[in-house]
Symmetry: C3
Amino acid sequence: MQIQTTKPQQFINITHLVADEVRKSNIKDGIAVVFVPHTTAGVTINENADPDVVCDMLYILDKSFPENDRNYRHFEGNSHAHIKASLMGSSVTVIVKNGRLMLGRWQGIYFCEFDGPRSREFYVKVTEG
Amino acid sequence: MQIQTTKPQQFINITHLVADEVRKSNIKDGIAVVFVPHTTAGVTINENADPDVVCDMLYILDKSFPENDRNYRHFEGNSHAHIKASLMGSSVTVIVKNGRLMLGRWQGIYFCEFDGPRSREFYVKVTEG
Amino acid sequence: MQIQTTKPQQFINITHLVADEVRKSNIKDGIAVVFVPHTTAGVTINENADPDVVCDMLYILDKSFPENDRNYRHFEGNSHAHIKASLMGSSVTVIVKNGRLMLGRWQGIYFCEFDGPRSREFYVKVTEG
């Protein structure tokens, strides 16, 4: 699926898009894997209610892993985005039951942009079992 | 499965509970997914021998992502717990072979509480294949 | 699969080894799980082009989670390696389509050594679906 990010660093709630893919798969029980094929973006699960939460998460990640550090060697100057992508991870796995994602009440699935804005994509694979 | 945490921040070894679910599933070969439906708790795999290891892990996470930071905006004041949950992750995946979790000798599966004590839960899904 | 690390901290690209296992499995569609059965090593997905990226990632992890901290209690003195292993994670999950790993163009799968050099291993499980 395609997604357009609009800021340098941004968490975008993609839960409804993932849920749509689960519905289309017609699979009632199994697992859903959301995979991000980029190296400066990732995916994570966190609070879907107060938007200040993901704002604080971006802030604290940036405090520990700042954009600029004189010891970075990578010529593109976005090493901070690469480490943040690995810290959040390139995939999340959610259990599917009765055709629905078994997320907790406050959980949402977030696409994590760390070097935007860019056109991005993510894959959703639902397996039965 | 239900679990009661007893401290604000705590790693609880749940390996035996996950192994029980694998046994009950009667699935001999496949994968087991452990999923935590909370946004201030996570799950990880680490050393099961010396309890000082998980103690040090909690200490170093708290040093980098402290409970208090004057720039946090989230009204509940537990942003540190949200970022720690995403850093550890909301799920772990373990290979199942001959009906057993293929963990390394020193590995245990830990429920990671970052905003306790609370009544918590986690899901275990075993798929064949 | 066996792997020999050669430095105290090192990211080793194992993408081709994982792809070989997918081929051998003869599974065309499903998911591949790469699992590391150690507690001071992990696995992650990141850039496969400029080797400075993983060098910067090791540097920034070490800056935030240094080898030495006078508050560490674990007698082996390698707590930094345990937290780094959990931050990268003990497994990655990649979608398999038409018999191939659905990785992005710049993505590689890296074995992450944090307490080497050592003889290590990792497991690859491919499930159909």
